[in-house]
């Protein structure tokens, strides 16, 4: 085996593998919003309430996939296709059926960029707290990371006012600076560019692209085909909880345009 083949093989190191990944919500959960509703329903139809099979909503339907080192995968699909649910399953927030193997790789996922943990505390204190949740493995570096994040955000004296008093743009500045601080083996970014003003967006785009470059693999959810084209080398197109396309971005985007305009929310009640 020559060096080119060696390099290609090491570059294709498996980061994550999903086999028969299914995700189901039980619609019964939404039937009773209060204890009173539940008691009333139990009184009306006790056997039916207790024994009836509840409606199931199949969000992800038997997915099989592999994510390799170097993959920058854009996930496309209309609203309700299952993009965010898939990302949350991979990030370990949701418990899916089937197997998701990570082979010991660190996964970092970001789903919101205008969020503080304690709105009463200052931006700096919130950033310090978020570091503990986003980067627990870099505990010894937190002090340096915090300084770098604060400098990058350019919030200066605003860093020491309560987070609840920040505008959406300021919140996005701080969060984006924080989430783009360190690369990961698998980075999941779910519509994370929203919120920042256009001047900061240019700056953060460069930083996020650098982060993507240094991360093992990236899953990128966006409705912006320009961003997908700019960042990704592979696209998954999700429809009704299934990956119906896995291939080059150009073809995936073409399919997105062709199918997207005729496709509403998937009807997946069983």
């Amino acid at each position: 085996m020559n060096s080119t083949q060696d390099s290609k093989k090491s570059n294709q190191k498996l980061i994550l593998r999903g086999r028969n990944v299914n995700f189901v919500f039980f619609a019964k959960t939404y039937k009773f919003v209060t204890v009173r509703d539940m008691i009333a329903e139990l009184a009306r139809d006790p056997m039916g309430t207790l024994l009836n099979e509840s409606d199931r909503v199949h969000i992800l339907n038997d997915l099989n996939f592999e994510i390799n080192n170097g993959d920058r995968i854009g996930i496309l699909g209309v609203n309700g296709a299952g993009k965010t649910t898939l990302c949350r399953c991979l990030a370990g927030l949701y418990k899916s059926r089937g197997t998701i193997e990570t082979f010991g790789h660190k996964i970092r996922a970001v789903f919101d960029t205008s969020m503080g943990i304690q709105p009463e505390l200052t931006g700096r204190e919130n950033a310090n707290l978020l570091l503990k949740f986003m980067y627990p493995e870099f505990y010894s570096e937190h002090a340096n990371m915090l300084q770098e994040i604060c400098d990058f955000s350019e919030l200066k004296e605003f860093l020491d006012i309560p987070f609840k008093d920040y505008s959406n743009g300021m919140q996005a500045r701080l969060c984006l600076s924080l989430i783009s601080s360190k690369p990961a083996d698998l980075l999941i970014l779910d519509e994370v560019f929203d919120g920042a003003d256009q001047f900061f967006r240019k700056k953060i785009s460069i930083r996020v692209q650098d982060l993507i470059k240094h991360s093992g693999a990236v899953l990128f959810v966006s409705h912006s085909v320009d961003q997908i084209l700019q960042i990704c080398n592979r696209v998954w197109y999700l429809k009704d909880g299934q990956i119906i396309f896995d291939g080059p971005p150009e073809k995936g985007i073409q399919l997105y345009h062709e199918l997207g305009q005729h496709q509403g929310l998937g009807h997946r009640f069983e």
Partner: protein, 257 residues
Amino acid sequence: MTLEELKIYWLQTEGLTLANLKSRYRGTWTGFIWTILNPLIMFGAQSFAFNYILKIQIHNYSLFLLSGLLPWLFLNQTIEMGMGTLQASGRLLKSFPIHPFVLICAVVIENFFNFFVAFVVTILPSMFLLEIPILYILLAPLAFFSLFIGTITLTSLAAIANVFYRDLRFILRFILSISFFFTPIFYDISIVPVKLKWIVSFNVFYYMIVPFRQLLHEQNLWSFATAIVEVFFIDIGLIGLTFYYWKRKRNELYSRL
């Protein structure tokens, strides 16, 4: 769960607890003083009513009441406060990799800190005044630990269920209010009629309070050991129930947040 994960959860809980305390008491000592004064005022009012008006005949009634009332207030206030934690942190839980139990533990530890300070300020001096043997003070961490574990599990169960049922908060608050009268806190279990004792035997709150009472008021080592063993098994059962409920409802919980 690996040791490394446990360490991470602990660091996150510690950070969040300190942030909660800082956020609550920033720039004001009155808030903190109130958390100490609140149980003391409750104790003063109840002690006056039950001791001097109703004339309950229990030796050293003040210590008897205090040893039951402080753990009860901690349990009650923590469940009430922690019940809305997950509901209020929906966006946060869906945005960042934060384990819901970290949020609940932070609330319980924060309240536990207040309870511990109130305990040290009120009970410890009376223990020295009454010359309670040092052994009983050294055994107190066992009672604290069992109460802490029980409170975390009960708060977790309430917090998970509260995500699904919007009116649970009001119902549970009502149940907690009436539970005060069905739990032997201001009266002794010996005055409960035999035919009604089953009510107490199904009351998990009571089992968590008994070790404090045996240690501080009764000062009976054998009864204390029995009470600790009982509450240990209850805690194990509650831990199992909490994890079962969490595992069963996890995905629906995130979808409802």
